[in-house]
């Protein structure tokens, strides 16, 4: 790696006002844009979820038309996945990766700007469909044909929105890979990279591998509807299930795209607040790699009831179960990192610990889902909904919050308000379980997913879930408050904001200079790496 100092026309010149944000090529500005966009989308998607929970508060149709409800479900998922969780991780990557590997910026700054600025337009396109005749997409986020083909005018716009999201993520991922592989300080070999960087390297690979496949799937659906192809029509020799295979070939890696960076964040946070080097660094890296590999050969576990041949069912059951092994390794390593450490419980650590507990619960239900005979009972019931909200909300979303609390002092130069932070955590962690835990029981009792109304015997648990949902929703307003207050001011943060923190990002002042490392960091800074304190 050659020397990585920066050159550019006039040093401290950056335009001000809105144009600064539109034209910026700076990894911190763009990271900030991503993070605020994702926060906004979290509230939009959450708003949809609130409609869902309100309608499901009691039996009978009170608020929305059934079709409208399906729209809510579909958009809730699409917005949360592509608008909230993924951009949040890209935002964190933009902010932290250059700082963690001693780089001045991202490798392809202009493209970096573009990959962000496509997103607002993609969601403009997606959300505008709700106003169209026939309403927005209502086929679920999986958009299975033939149902999806019945969508009204919204149909092509949804598909093009998906294309745009795909383009954006692929460019973002390319940028991350190029940055990590090319701008890394020459004193930092791969096996000394912080885990967040490692997990993102592998996530980026997954993104580039599967987003185009999603684009392909929806494109086939587009031509089926407008150009007379018969990919998903048996009469013409196609098969509706073909779509499901292509979609889930994207879909399953996608769910790991949403959890691997989370693993990275949790590894950083737990090591820091245990004041102890991360346990089993190498096995952590290998675990992430094997999870990524396995994620390509398990997709049909979402399709156990479509009537696949027995051999396929068995193969996908076994391969799916295997994923528990590397994931277990990670959980146990986190445990061993905490073991005999010197733990303190600031908000990031609280979220990290909650992550380990609740993600593991979500993982357990995952393994249960993998057992085909039992999955015939679980499939398409609220048991599945419970599973993936444990891994997505208390998994991905909690990890993002842990990361934000962890790095806020670095970004803003101020410590956030710890009391408010703790309030946010406790309210969230309690309400989120009130929200999602009862869904396990609803599922086992046979309540299907994606229904706007239900038999009366499901009332009690749905009410409990809804109440939990509203509390969880409102609690998130605290999060916004903490962030804004922290930007506005607060106790000055030192370069090394947390006494247990290691890694290059903490060798920079808080807030860091416009160009993270105008001069390459000293080798010594790297050898003081958390995972190898030699």
């Amino acid at each position: 790696m050659s020397n990585t100092a920066v050159a550019h026309e006039h040093h401290a010149e950056h335009p001000s006002g809105i144009w600064r944000w539109i034209s910026t090529t700076n990894h911190k500005d763009i990271g900030t844009l991503y993070l605020f966009f994702s926060l906004l989308m979290f509230f939009v998607g959450g708003g949809f979820a609130m409609v869902i929970r309100a309608e499901l508060f009691e039996p009978g149709m009170q608020l929305v038309d059934p079709l409208m409800f399906n729209e809510m479900t579909t958009l809730h998922a699409l917005v949360m996945i592509f608008g909230a969780i993924m951009p949040a991780f890209v935002g964190l990557a933009n902010w932290m990766i250059p700082m963690m590997i001693g780089a001045p910026d991202m490798a392809l700054p202009r493209m970096n700007n573009w990959s962000f600025w496509i997103l607002p337009f993609a969601f403009l396109l997606l959300l505008s469909t709700t106003l169209m005749p026939g309403g927005g997409p209502a086929g679920g986020w999986t958009m299975y044909p033939p149902l999806m083909l019945q969508t009204g005018m919204a149909f092509p716009f949804v598909i093009f929105a998906v294309h745009l999201m795909g383009i954006s993520s692929v460019m973002g991922a390319i940028n991350v890979i190029a940055t990590i592989l090319n701008l890394r300080s020459k004193d930092m070999p791969l096996m000394k990279m912080p885990l967040f960087v490692w997990t993102w390297l592998i996530t980026a690979y997954l993104l580039i591998a599967v987003m185009p496949v999603l684009a392909g799937a929806v494109t086939m659906m587009l031509t089926d509807r407008y150009f007379g192809t018969s990919f998903f029509d048996a009469a013409g020799g196609g098969d509706p299930v073909l779509y499901q295979h292509v979609f889930w070939f994207f879909g399953h890696p996608e769910v790991y795209i949403m959890i691997l960076p989370a693993f990275g964040i949790i590894s950083e946070v737990i090591a820091t607040f245990s004041r102890k080097p991360l346990f089993g660094y190498d096995s952590m890296v290998y675990a992430v790699a094997s999870i990524a590999f396995l994620s390509f050969i398990v997709w049909a576990h979402h399709m156990f009831t479509v009537g696949m041949p027995l051999a396929a069912e068995l193969f996908f059951m076994f391969s799916t179960m295997l994923i528990a092994v590397p994931t277990g390794v990670k959980v146990f390593n986190w445990l061993a990192t905490m073991w005999r450490g010197s733990l303190s419980f600031e908000t990031p650590m609280l979220f990290a610990i909650a992550f380990v507990f609740l993600f593991t619960i979500g993982g357990f239900s995952g393994v249960m889902l993998a057992l085909v005979p039992a999955d015939y009972q679980y499939h398409m019931t609220y048991f599945v909904v419970a599973h993936f909200h444990y891994v997505l909300v208390t998994g991905a979303a909690f990890a993002i919050m842990a990361g934000v609390y962890y790095w806020l002092p670095k970004w803003t130069g101020h410590m956030y308000n710890e009391t408010l932070g703790k309030w946010h955590f406790w309210l969230s962690v309690i309400s989120v379980n009130v929200l999602f835990f009862p869904m396990h029981f609803l599922g086992l009792a046979g309540m299907p997913r994606r229904i706007p109304d239900y038999p009366v015997q499901f009332t009690d648990l749905n009410m409990i879930a809804s109440i939990g949902g509203f509390v969880f929703g409102v609690s998130q307003l605290l999060f916004v408050a903490v962030v804004i207050l922290c930007i506005r001011g607060g106790k000055k943060a030192e370069a090394r904001a947390w006494d247990g923190a290691h890694g290059l990002e903490w060798t920079l002042p808080s807030p860091p200079p416009y160009h993270s490392f105008s001069e390459p960091p000293p080798a010594s800074a790297i050898w003081a790496h958390p995972y190898r304190p030699d």
Partner: protein
């Protein structure tokens, strides 16, 4: 020269750019136009075209800036490496895109056909829904969607096109040698041949399509065979066209004396892309035309 020296040990970070936002707006207009057009609104196609023009404008502007910077010598070896990583991973994403369609073809041939014919655990699919349907390939399905058609042959145009693309792969490599030897004549001539071959491929394929529609009654609507055939070859043809246009640009730049024997990322990027298009075609020739 001083720029050179300064570039050699500095990572170039541009400041501010208007092109991405223009590109995003362009894409938005294009896709909104396409959507309204597909939904049968007349103004859609105009929006679509306007959007494309905006995107085109963005590309000219953006690439123009980059070329100026490159020729101005503000890119050092490391910047060059970033570009290379970027291009290779972009091509990988393209491979995966084609993978989706090859996968569909594979699934339809290897699994769906036998199932419609009642094999494996799909016996009743045949007995109750598609009685008497015999699995076959090429196939437009048990309902004979789009009517009988004549499938594509591996001989004739397809074979000729294979020859053309393979040769063009060779010529572009020779052009590259020319560039490395600093032999501009060789560079330009062989680039020229490559462009020529590229466009003749496109023309021949257009001819093939016209025959398919007019003589063979083979259309996008000819069931799964027509779907997979036209989507695969169509997307490939689109890539060949784009590649040929990029080659043309590279040719013009070479004529203007751009590129140095040791510093010509743009040229290599395009030649990589061309080789990728080449390889995809081989896949197509084997799985779509031949087997």
């Amino acid at each position: 020269m001083s720029a050179e020296a300064q570039a050699s040990n500095h990572y170039y970070v541009p400041h501010g750019t208007q092109w991405p936002i223009i590109g995003s707006i362009g894409l938005f207009i294009t896709m909104f136009g396409a959507g309204t057009w597909l939904e049968g609104m007349a103004f859609g196609k105009y929006l679509f075209v306007i959007g494309l023009l905006v995107v085109l404008f963005m590309m000219f502007g953006w690439f123009g800036t980059v070329i100026r910077e490159s020729e101005g010598g503000s890119y050092n070896a490391q910047v060059d490496r970033s570009f290379r990583w970027g291009m290779s991973w972009f091509i990988f994403s393209e491979v995966m895109f084609f993978g989706a369609f090859f996968g569909a073809l594979f699934f339809a041939r290897v699994f769906v056909q036998p199932w419609l014919g009642g094999s494996s655990n799909a016996l009743f699919t045949n007995l109750l829904v598609w009685k008497g349907y015999e699995p076959a390939w090429p196939s437009n399905g048990p309902a004979n969607i789009g009517g009988d058609f004549e499938a594509m042959k591996a001989t004739g145009i397809a074979a000729l096109n294979t020859l053309i693309l393979l040769t063009s792969g060779l010529t572009v490599t020779i052009a590259h040698w020319g560039l490395k030897e600093g032999n501009r004549k060789k560079l330009c001539w062989f680039l020229f041949f490559t462009v020529l071959l590229g466009f003749s491929f496109v023309i021949l394929q257009a001819h093939e399509y016209i025959d398919a529609y007019t003589k063979q009654n083979l259309t996008l609507g000819s069931g799964i065979y027509g779907s997979t055939f036209f989507m695969l070859t169509g997307f490939h043809g689109l890539h060949v066209t784009i590649g040929a246009i990029m080659l043309t640009v590279i040719l013009l730049r070479s004529l203007k004396g751009h590129f140095k024997p040791d510093h010509h990322f743009a040229f290599e990027a395009v030649s990589w892309y061309w080789h990728f298009v080449d390889v995809v075609w081989l896949g197509l020739y084997i799985f779509v035309y031949w087997l």
